[in-house]
Every structure is written in C-alpha cells, then in structure tokens.
C-alpha cells in the first residue's frame, strides 16, 4: 500500500491517541475539577447526605477514580454512553437521533460562509487597498465582533416577525412537522429522496435563517484568510512571470493565484469546524433547532450529567473525524505534501 491510502491509514491511526487524550481531558475536567458532580446534578438543592450517597453509588462516583476512568473508557469503546437522567433514554441513541439536524445545519452554514467569505475575500485581494477592499475588511471584522445569538435574533425579528417571509424557528412547519417521514434525518436530502417538493421548500425555508446566522459568523475568518492568502500568492515571482507572459489578468489571478492560495484556506476550514460547533450551540438555541448542541444545553439546564459527558465526547469524536478529513483533503489539494 502506498500513496494516499497509506497516508490515510497513518493519519487514521494518529487520530486514535489524539482522541484518547481528548476523552481523558474531558474525564479529568468533569471528575477531578472542584465541584461534586452529584451535588451539581441535584442543582444545589438541600438534600440529605443519604440521598447524595445513593446517587453517588448509582452513578459510580463512589468508586476509585482509576476504576471510574477504566469504566468510562471501556464504555466509550463499547459505545455505551450511559442513560440520560432527564429522559431515561440511552444517551448515544438520543445523540444519534439529534445528530443529523446539527450536521444539516453545519453543512448549510458552511455553504453560506464559503460563498460569502470566499467571494468577499477574493474581491478584497484583487482590489487590495481600494474602497471595496476597505469596505469588505470592515465587514469581515464586524462579523467577528458580532455575537452570533444576537445576529440570529435580529434576522429573526426582521425576516420572520416583521416581514413574515421566513419561519421563525424549528425544522418543519405546520402539518409537515407531523406527517414528514425522515429517512436519513437530513431533511433536505430526505425531501429529495421522497420526491416531495412541498416538503423540500418548507425545509429549505426553515434552513435559511439559521444557516445564514451560522454562516455570517464564520464569514470573517474565511474571508480574511482568503484575502491574506491570495495577496501573499499574488506577490510571488511566478505570478509576475505569468503576467509577463502576457496572460490575461483573470487567468493569472484565478489559475495561478487561487489554486495556490487554497492551501491555507483549507487548513482554516478544519479550525472553522470547531467554531462552527460552538456557534451551533447558540444558533440551535435561538432557532429551537433540535440538534446535539441544543441537546447539550438542555442537559446542562437539567444537570443531566451522563448526557453532558456523552455530548461532549460525541462532539469530540465528530471534530476528530472532520480534522482527519480536512487533513486528507489538504494532501489532495497540495501535491507537495508527501505521504
């Protein structure tokens, strides 16, 4: 085995220790940090020591730390994330059910941020130090400084409440919420698979505001990196060479410039995903989006300890997989990366 498959396998094997460390950090944070999980779970309620003790035994907090750690790790390996206190369901099952909603939101959010960030960054670079460039840079910085939940609320007020163009919240409206039968859980895909035009329109309408909220928040990062990376490439000697050959400026910019500028842009994409998941917590809360991020917030509100831990581990897994994919993509785009 050689080349890309070999590299992919190596990279996959490297993901395992990384994941192990992440999962251990989660464990340490939740168990060893000051604050008793059991009293946190009971929300500082005035309960007797006996009740506390029963809870401790029930969730295994009375056992030695090392043993707890062993059980925790073996649980994760076996896919046993425990049972939610709030709903009494298996945490992993609940997460698996909620995950497609988050994934769908993330995909559309990324599409928005790629579309906006990439084009604005490119325009800014090509028109560097001109008014358009300045305007775009201000927009990028502003998109950084904007609280995501606030942006979501403002969009909601304007487009849903005031103009009434788009639905305020949730994934489906009216009767569809009860009649629509999902297949994959990615509703847009499901609507296509079921060949249901009405549902598709409804699903997309519900996606617009959350996707733009998440997307605009990421636009600044995407746009800045695109601009910086493109400018750096356009300064290179081979660009001058391409120009002196008499190539059309657009060809120079797009074929010689853009292709090379893509590398840092993809690197940032991996980082972006972490921001995206953080942003999803707020977006899902504002738009009552039934994904894993809002599940986590609900779990925190209810001090549902197994669910909190399970969601965090699940998100860690998800991020690791994304980083793996980004790394592989990276080696495809940049032929200089040796594997």
């Amino acid at each position: 085995m050689s080349g890309l498959p070999r590299y992919a396998l190596q990279r996959l094997l490297l993901t395992i220790p990384m994941l192990f460390i992440l999962v251990t950090v989660v464990f340490l944070l939740l168990r060893v940090m000051p604050g008793d999980p059991v009293s946190a779970m009971l929300g500082g309620k005035n309960v007797s020591d006996e009740v506390l003790a029963t809870y401790r035994v029930k969730f295994g907090f009375d056992r030695p730390l090392l043993q707890q750690y062993g059980e925790y790790i073996s649980g994760i390996v076996r896919g046993d994330f425990g049972r939610s206190i709030r709903t009494n369901q298996l945490v992993l099952q609940e997460l698996a059910r909620k995950f497609p909603a988050t994934l769908e939101l993330a995909i559309f959010g990324i599409l928005v941020s790629l579309g906006l960030g990439f084009t604005t960054g490119l325009i800014a670079a090509v028109r560097a130090d001109r008014p358009v460039d300045h305007a775009i840079r201000v927009f990028h910085i502003a998109s950084f400084a904007m609280p995501l939940f606030w942006l979501g609320l403002m969009l909601q007020v304007f487009f849903a409440v005031k103009l009434g163009w788009l639905p305020v919240a949730s994934r489906l409206g009216g009767r569809l919420a009860f009649t629509f039968k999902p297949i994959t859980g990615l509703y847009a895909l499901d609507a296509v698979l079921r060949w249901d035009g009405k549902a598709l329109v409804d699903v997309l309408q519900h996606l617009v505001l959350p996707a733009f909220t998440l997307g605009i928040a990421l636009t600044g990062l995407q746009g800045r990196i695109t601009r910086a990376s493109m400018l750096e490439v356009l300064d290179q000697d081979y660009i001058t060479t391409a120009r002196s050959k008499g190539l059309h400026e657009r060809v120079v910019q797009l074929r010689h410039g853009l292709r090379n500028a893509l590398i840092p842009i993809i690197t940032v994409f991996g980082l972006q995903f972490a921001v995206l998941m953080g942003g999803a917590v707020l977006t899902e809360t504002v738009f009552s989006w039934p994904g894993i991020a809002s599940y986590l917030v609900l779990a925190i509100g209810a001090r549902d300890y197994p669910s909190i831990q399970g969601s965090v581990v699940f998100i860690a897994l998800f991020i690791s997989v994304i980083n793996l994919i980004v790394d592989l993509l990276y080696s495809v785009v940049d032929p200089r990366v040796r594997y």
Partner: protein, 311 residues
C-alpha cells in the same frame, strides 16, 4: 469562539516575529507611537471609554437619573423616547441605565480570564519549547487536543460544572484560552532558541532560567500582545453567550447577554429595543479589542503597509 482569534494567531505565529522595539515603543512613547496608527487609536479609545463608562455606572448606578434595578416606575415595554433613550423593559426599568453598567461582568471576566490563561499558557509554552523531548511532546498533544475542541462548548460545560457566578466564568474563560498562548509561545521559543544570540548567551554560561527570562521571553511579547487583544474580543463574546444561555450572573444584575435573553421573549410583540441596544454594546466593545489587535499586528508587521499593489 476562541478559534477565530486562534486562527489569526496561527497566521500571526508566522507573521509576527517583528521587532520588539515597535511594541515597546507603544508602551513607552505612547502618543508618539500612536501617530498614524488610526486603527490602534480608535480601538484603545473605544475600550478606555467602555471601561470608564462601566466603572462610573457601577459606582454611581443612577448616573443617568434612573437606577438599573431599583427604579421600576417607568411605563412598561415602551420604545425609545426623550425620557427613556433606549426604551423600557417589562419590569418597568430604564434600558439605558442597565446598558451603562451591563458590561461589568464581561470586562472583569475577559481581563481576569485572559490574565490566567496568559500566565499559565505562556509559562507552559516556554517550558515545553525549551525542554523539548517527551515533556514537550505530551504537553503539545494535550494542548492540541484541547485546542481542537470548540472553546464555546468547553466554556459552557465548565461553567455548568463550576456553578454560575463571576469566578467560575473567569476560570472557564481562563482555561479555554490556555492552548492559544501555549502554541504562540512555544512556536516563538522554538524559533528564538536556535538564534545565534541565544547560542552566544549559552556559550557565555548563562543558565536555562536566565536564558528563558532574559532572552527568550521578551521576544515572545509582541506576538502575545496581538493575540491577547483578539482573545479579549473573543472573550467578550463568550461571556455574552454564557449570559445569554443563562449561565452568567443571576438577575437582576444588569448584563448585556442576559438582557438580550430576557428581551427575546418580547420580540414577537415588536419590542426590538430590548435586544438591539445591548447587542450594539457587545459589538462595539468586541470591535474595540479587535481593532487594537489589528493595530498591534500592523505595528509589529509593517511589511504590508504602504505597499502598492499592481493589479
């Protein structure tokens, strides 16, 4: 959402090995160094204005004639008017008076949290970069793992575990940014360590601690300063988000994030002023820190400045 500034930091890691004297110039020569640095000046002005406003409004709560929590006889849910510039809320309080001191928690948490992460992160970064070997490898792995995890979610979970209030938020924000400083410092140390002058100092017989403190640490400051400003901008948003999710200070303490959450309930009835004004405050303050970061970046990395682009 530390990652945004983190990514800037990543870009800065490469770019900002600029001369230290430029940064020291800001500190010592003050105004002279600020000449021509419009972005930096505006940023500093915004932040100073916000700190002063918050300090004053916290010390004298009724500074605009209405107390943010005790005054409760305004008309209910009324839009901006001459007597209530930013309208009133459902508990008949004046929104403007709450705006004035609503940034207190954000500022305290951002500055204290940053100090914690800066100290821990830099020290670990120096140690890791200088020690090398297995210690460096383990520390880097752990830091990378934390870094790869969404900081917003980490902060939320930490605050949920620690309980709400100022100090849990400070520790959560402090913890979340540690890897950023670790990475910046370590990268810088690795680079400086190989320079000729450090070799010279070592040849003279200086000890490790002395090399780190006298010769390596000062060279990491410029990179750290730019990163800190971006992190402060980000921390303001994180604190606001925590408050928005109800994990911040308990009511009725005025707080922008919490007030937005509260205003959310009255959006359907058209009370836009309840969320608009606190949001604008958060943006302005966060933008102020962001501009300072931009300004410092320009100062220590003047390469791009004044360069004319053909095209």
């Amino acid at each position: 959402m530390r990652r945004e500034s983190g990514a800037w930091a990543a870009a800065d890691e490469r770019a900002h090995r600029g001369p230290l004297h430029a940064v020291l110039g800001v500190l010592s020569r003050g105004r002279r160094a600020l000449r021509g640095q419009h972005i930096l000046t505006i940023g500093i002005a915004v932040v100073v204005a916000f700190v002063l406003m918050t300090a004053l409004a916290t010390r004298f709560p009724s500074i605009n004639g209405y107390h943010p929590t005790l005054y409760r006889t305004a008309p209910r849910l009324q839009g901006p008017s001459a007597s209530h510039w930013m309208g009133t809320d459902q508990l008949q309080r004046d929104v403007f008076s709450r705006i004035l001191s609503g940034g207190r928690a954000s500022l305290i948490v951002a500055f204290s949290g940053l100090t914690i992460s800066l100290v821990i992160g830099s020290v670990l970064g120096w140690i890791s970069g200088f020690a090398g070997g297995w210690l460096d490898r383990i520390l880097s792995l752990v830091m990378d793992a934390i870094y790869s995890f969404p900081s917003m979610i980490l902060a939320i979970v930490l605050v949920a575990m620690f309980g709400s209030g100022l100090s849990p938020m400070i520790w959560a924000v402090g913890f979340v940014y540690v890897p950023t400083y670790f990475r910046v410092t370590r990268a810088e140390v690795l680079q400086v360590r190989e320079t000729t002058y450090v070799e010279a100092v070592r040849a003279v017989g200086a000890g490790r601690v002395r090399i780190v403190l006298r010769h390596v640490a000062p060279n990491t400051i410029s990179a750290i300063m730019a990163v800190s400003s971006f992190n402060l901008a980000d921390a303001i948003l994180t604190v606001a988000s925590l408050s928005f999710l109800g994990l911040g200070l308990p009511p009725p303490t005025p707080d922008w994030g919490y007030d937005i959450q509260n205003g959310q309930k009255y959006l359907q009835s058209g009370s836009w002023w309840l969320i608009t004004f606190p949001g604008l405050m958060i943006i302005t303050l966060s933008l102020g820190f962001g501009l300072i970061g931009e300004g410092i970046s320009d100062l220590v990395n003047p390469r791009r400045k004044g360069k004319k682009h053909k095209v």
